[in-house]
Each structure stands twice: as C-alpha cells, then as structure tokens.
Symmetry: C2
Subunit: 311 residues, 2 copies
C-alpha cells in the first residue's frame, strides 16, 4: 500500500542511496545516483529518487554534517560549499510530503535501533567508525538530538589535548585515533619508528602506509601489524568508556566501514573496553555489538526518521 511507503535517502560524498520501506520496515525498493555538485543539483537528484521510489507517505534524508532540527545542513565540507543548505524545506516545497533530515550517522543509529542490532534498546550508543567517527544516541527510549540537533558529534571529543592536530582546529579529537584515518596515522607512526617494515615494503614507503595495508598484513599474521590493530582497539575503547561514563548505555553498536573488519578489531576493542571501563566490578558491562545493516543503514534510518523525530 503506497500510503504507508516510507522513502529514505543517504546522501554520501560520491553517491546517493535510496530505499523504500513498507509498513513493516522491509526494503521494497532501492535506487542510487551519483551525488552531483552544488545544492540545486542535489535537490533535483533527491526529488528524482523520491519520485522513482514513490509515491511515499514520508521522506527522510541523511546528510554528512551538522543538521539543525528544522532540516538545514549547517556545514558539510565534503558535500557542498555553502554554509546553510535548507535541505528539508526545499524538498518539502518540491514534493509536498513530510520530510525529515538528520546527520547520516544519526540515521544509521536509528536504523540499528529500530530494525537492527539495537532493536528494543532504550539506552544505546551507535558509533560509526569510518574516515571519521560519527554517532547517534538513544536514551530513555528516545533519540537524543540536542537543542540544535547536533548531539552525537562524538568523534570530536578531545581525548588528548596535546595530541595531533584535527581539521576542526583543535588537538587530540577521538577521530584522530579511532577512525580509518586514525588507523592510518597510528600505522605511519609505527612505520616511521621502524616497527612495520614489512608493511612499508608492501605500501611502497612510510608515507604510503594506509589502514588497509595494516589490515592486510595483520590478516597474514604479521605480528607488528597486529600490534597496531591492538593499539587501535585501545583508542576505540577509550572513547567508548568515556561515553559509558556519561550515558551508561546497555549497548554499543559499532558500525561504519571499519566495523566490517570485526575479525581484526573485535577482540582488541572488547578486551580494552573491559580493561578501561570505570568501576568494572560494580556494573554489568554494556554489550558491544557490530552493526547489522552495513551500507544500507543510513538510507533505512533516514526512512524511519519521520516516525522517530516526532514519536
């Protein structure tokens, strides 16, 4: 029944992925387009995708960046170079449909919470480990959006004020250590200290070392590469325990590109989490699980936004 059809679109740096959900949350349609340049072209593409998968009762959109509660993208350096992109109201005008917009990591959190690994949780934190770190928070059975809509910018928690500089202008943000780019940085530091000679040979030079090289070498049993994976796991865990102190969730869901490498990072993250947790003997430990939905989480969560933003 088309009246209950909910469309969600995840706008990425290179592609837009759209899904249609039926009333039960099953994916009943999917479409994708390259992400064009500039706000007007992006809106045209979103209208095309919504129309192709519609008619839809509601539309949700996930975008990378800071999104206000009324659906304005305040900034998204990897997407558009304007500072106020009124995604929500532009789409409402074009489509005449209920439209909700939120940050892409928040959308992934909504998907895992409503239909995936976090189903049924009243207190959970989703952490997306990709090029950076994003997040989404559920407390008291509701999405935590914050007064502006910017809650969950957990990648910019400072965990070492003397740490490496972050493009945000500060130093030692969590995502300098515990993201894909953080893994690359840890690996290049190890390489420069001659701890990763086999990886350097594989990559073609210290400066060419990326997280992927470390992962490949660790999978082949290279002990030095496995040590870097362990160090990476400790940094991931350090941020998680900070979030546990603040929010005391029952569940962490780890998603994003790096969560696919659970074979490498699952054990170190879990072990360090147990070691670093505050008052570990006085509490049931939060569960750490990996995301269910992989690439479609953002689009599925976007489709669920209208029901979640206004429960």
């Amino acid at each position: 029944m088309s009246a209950a059809r909910r469309v969600g679109i995840d706008v990425g740096g290179t592609k837009c992925l759209a899904v249609a959900l039926d009333a039960d949350g099953a994916v009943v349609g999917e479409a994708r387009r390259a992400t064009p340049k500039g706000p007007a072209a992006i809106i045209d593409t979103l209208v095309e995708l919504a129309t192709e998968l519609g008619p839809a009762a509601t539309l949700g959109v996930g975008v990378p960046g800071l999104v206000t509660r009324d659906g304005t993208l305040r900034a998204a350096p990897n997407l558009v170079d304007i500072s106020d992109f009124q995604v929500g109201s532009l789409l409402r005008d074009r489509l005449g449909t209920d439209v909700e917009v939120d940050n892409d990591a928040t959308c992934a959190a909504v998907a895992e919470w409503q239909l995936g690994a976090g189903r049924g949780a009243d207190d959970m934190v989703m952490v997306t480990l990709g090029t950076g770190i994003g997040g989404g928070i559920v407390a008291n059975g509701r999405l935590v959006r914050g007064i502006n809509g910017f809650a969950g910018e957990i990648g910019h928690m400072v965990i070492d004020p003397n740490g490496p500089p972050c493009p945000c202008g500060r130093r030692g943000c969590w995502e300098r250590y515990a993201s894909g780019s953080g893994l690359g940085r840890l690996a290049r530091d190890a390489a420069a200290a001659h701890r990763l000679d086999a990886v350097v040979a594989m990559a073609g030079g210290v400066d060419q070392v990326r997280g992927e090289h470390v992962a490949e070498a660790a999978r082949q049993g290279d002990a030095a590469a496995m040590e870097v994976c362990d160090e990476f796991g400790r940094w991931v865990a350090l941020g998680l325990v900070n979030l546990a102190n603040v929010l005391d969730p029952g569940l962490f869901v780890l998603g994003g590109g790096l969560a696919a490498s659970v074979d490498l990072f699952g054990e170190p993250i879990t072990r360090w989490f147990g070691e670093l947790l505050y008052a570990p003997h006085l509490r049931p430990h939060p569960r750490l699980v990996f995301a269910d939905m992989a690439e479609r989480a953002g689009a599925i969560g976007a489709a669920l936004l209208p029901g979640v933003h206004r429960p």
Copy 2:
C-alpha cells in the same frame, strides 16, 4: 497539607541535610544530623530525619556513589565500606512510604532543572565541581539515568591517557584537572616549577599548597595565581566542550563548592569554552550559568526525585 509534603535528604560524608517541600516546591522544613558510621546507623538517622520533617507523601535520598535504578548504593568509599547498601528498600520497609534514591550530583541536577538555574530546559547538563566532579543530564525533557542508573559519571571521562593517575585505577580523568583536588594539583605543579613562590610562602611549603591558597592569592591580585586559575578554567572548559559534542545541551549549570568562586573562575571557564567549542561559528553557544541553590541543591533535588524518576 501534609499529604503533598515531599521530604528529601542529602547524605554527605560528614552530615545529612534534610528538607521538606510543599506542593509548590517551597522549602517548609529543614533538619540536619551528623552522618553516623555504618549502614544500620545511617538508615536510623534517615528514618529520624524523615519522621521529624514528616508525615511525608514521598521521600527522596541523595547519596555519594553509584546508585542502581532500584535504589541500591553499589559503592561509596567515603560513606560506607560495604559494596551493596540497599538504601531504598530498607527505607521503604521502615517507613512504608514511596522512596527514591539517586546519586547526589544527579539530585543537585534535578533541583536546578526543576526549580533553579535550569528551570524549563529540555536539554541541560549539570556539572558539580567539588572534591571530584559529578554530573546530571537532562535530554528530551527527561533525566538521563542510563540502563543501570549510573549515567552522569562525567568526572571519569579520560581527557589525557598519559595524565596523572586517578584513584579509579586509570589515568587522566577529567576530575584530576577540573575539580577542587585538580586545582590543588595544578597549583602544586606550578609551585614545584617556582611559578607560585608567594603562594608557597603563604601555604608553608610546596606540598602544603591547596586550591584555597591559590584562590586567596588570585583575589589579592597575584598574577601567577591568576594564571593557575586560568589554566584551571581551560581544563573545566575542555570537559564541557566534550559534553557539548556528545549531548548538544542548550545549558550547562555549574555547581558544587568551586562554583561559589565564580569571581575567579567564571571568566576563564567561559572564555576557554568559546575557544574550545567544536564548530563555534556554526551553532548558538550553549549557555553557561552557575547554580542557584548552593548547599541545599542535593536535598531539594532528592525531594523531587519521586516525581522525576516516574514522570
């Protein structure tokens, strides 16, 4: 009318402070006792205080430590040396009244949120700066308790994994820097580096330097002492901006003993907060205010707990 009378008791390391609130939240009674040793004696004292200020429709109790959702104090090293003190159920059995128990900093947050500096806020964080750092969080217009009831343990956010050791067994917890004991440590470090000779003379030696000496010297215009206050303000602000990233509150309420020294710390905390905030040009800055209720916040918040825990 006694049926609407709500009693709250704040159990501290040295004294128990009790208040009675009328239906409008006005304080209509107050009593205090020294905190006795041992769980049985503490329960007796709480029953005496509740009886003295009653008959009460509800009783709330704030205690220093980790409190489960059913009112069990898991640990409170400064209060009792047992690991499971069932404050809530013991009092319910004795009094036959509705009893709710929570962490003392959470109680202070409830008081400021319901009747004080945070009145009307849907998204706020209270930070109590005392010997350590405690906290309480409101999101979506509700208290965030966490799955166990341990949310708000913000003093144990690690902000420097190579920082000074914390009694919790880890290193670089926020309260090693931004609490009263943190101020003392910053001051002794400065003194050991001969940056605080006048303060050292006042205190009688480097090891005798306490936060109070720095505050006194700064109030007399000692430039080196004012620098330590500025450094302290930066550490307070660093933790606040981390919480802003996670929760995006509209308001921070700063309470606890150090918040009384707003003349010394208000300006540095506010200035550093503006400097360290993530994406400061893209958002309205959260308001930073100081607590209204001083010493009675914990007891007043405790009295309000029954209505807040079960809205």
